[in-house]
Subunit: 203 residues, 2 copies
């Protein structure tokens, strides 16, 4: 039975009829639970309502295989501020395998790379005190990437990326990133990102 | 007109008739050119006739997204010995883009990672003086990966990977790798690979 079949017509009337029979304490509990859920969502960096860093990139710079919103074949990762740190999540496909049961290390490097350069861009805007949709656009490329694989990353669960800006100086931003699965850190990375030359950011 | 149409029937007779009219010096030159071509192919590590490192991996370990021959969605890179160095090539797809005209850094990291761990495995077999199809299988995973992006890597050309074993000690192999495009080194990597525990290599 479909969604409409389940909740439409007579069933819907039964549901509303039922409400009249439950104890007011139960309804009060439901209201509190709903408020708590809204608090939890908004407390997590407001990222359910904010645009991702990558969604501010101008169209001609939004084709990156790792994070470009316009690359239909790519990973399209989305990064958000969470206080002084930045966060992103990614659910690998079953074919993103290294050996049975574990995630491919090259994908882990790619996720750390893109989330870190996105964070570098967002940090540069923050340092200049301006919003990410203001001109001129600030985009960063990777000068160096280092990843330590601390333990095998299990396949089949959502991965959490969390970054912190270690250094920001001139056109260079150094970002450290962890990648976790099931709450355990599986890989730790450091990216040296440098601001892209203007001739590459222009159309 | 097809291949057979071009060279079959009367055309073939014309070709043989032509041979009788050319100068013997020209035929001699052709023979030398053919011998030189055969020398060039065989001198390049015999890799046109040898199996790639990755093609020796047992089936249950041949699904890696970077180099597994059984992963239909993956890169399926193939690495070969070229003397003391190992080589591989890869032609990125148009969607493996970073910014217009250039290759995505995460792909570069992935290629360096897989070619280096493949090289580590081949070097471990070599160090034990045994062929890659002998038991027990030796597979390596990445403990750490470092990539320096020296210049933007152009999209649309075949990339050349070249690795050298820097250190081999116990279960650890350190491999340095360059990635070149049009003969110029665009990225330089170092991978610390460690032999996979036996419980992960068994079926």
């Amino acid at each position: 039975m479909g969604w409409k079949g389940r909740w439409g017509g007579k069933n819907r009337l039964h549901l509303f009829g039922l409400v009249g029979h439950v104890h007011p304490t139960f309804l009060s509990f439901c209201s509190y639970a709903m408020l708590y859920a809204i608090f939890c969502i908004t407390a997590r960096g407001d990222n359910m309502t904010e645009k991702a860093f990558q969604d501010y990139y101008p169209d001609h710079l939004a084709h990156c295989y790792g994070c470009g919103r316009l690359n239909e074949y790519g990973h399209q990762i989305k990064s958000y501020w969470d206080g002084d740190e930045s966060i992103a999540t990614f659910h690998p496909k079953p074919y993103h395998i290294a050996i049975p049961g574990y995630v491919y290390g090259g994908l882990i490097a790619s996720l750390i790379d893109c989330h870190s350069t996105g964070t570098a861009a967002a940090a540069a805007y923050r340092a200049e005190g301006r919003a990410m949709d203001t001109e001129p656009p600030l985009r960063f490329v990777t000068a160096s990437l280092h990843v330590d694989y601390l333990k095998p990353t299990p396949l089949g669960v959502t991965l959490d990326l969390r970054s912190r800006v270690k250094e920001i100086k001139g056109r260079k931003v150094v970002v450290t990133t962890t990648l976790s699965a099931n709450g355990e850190i599986c890989a730790r990375g450091e990216v040296v990102a440098v601001q892209m030359p203007e001739h590459l950011t222009s159309k």
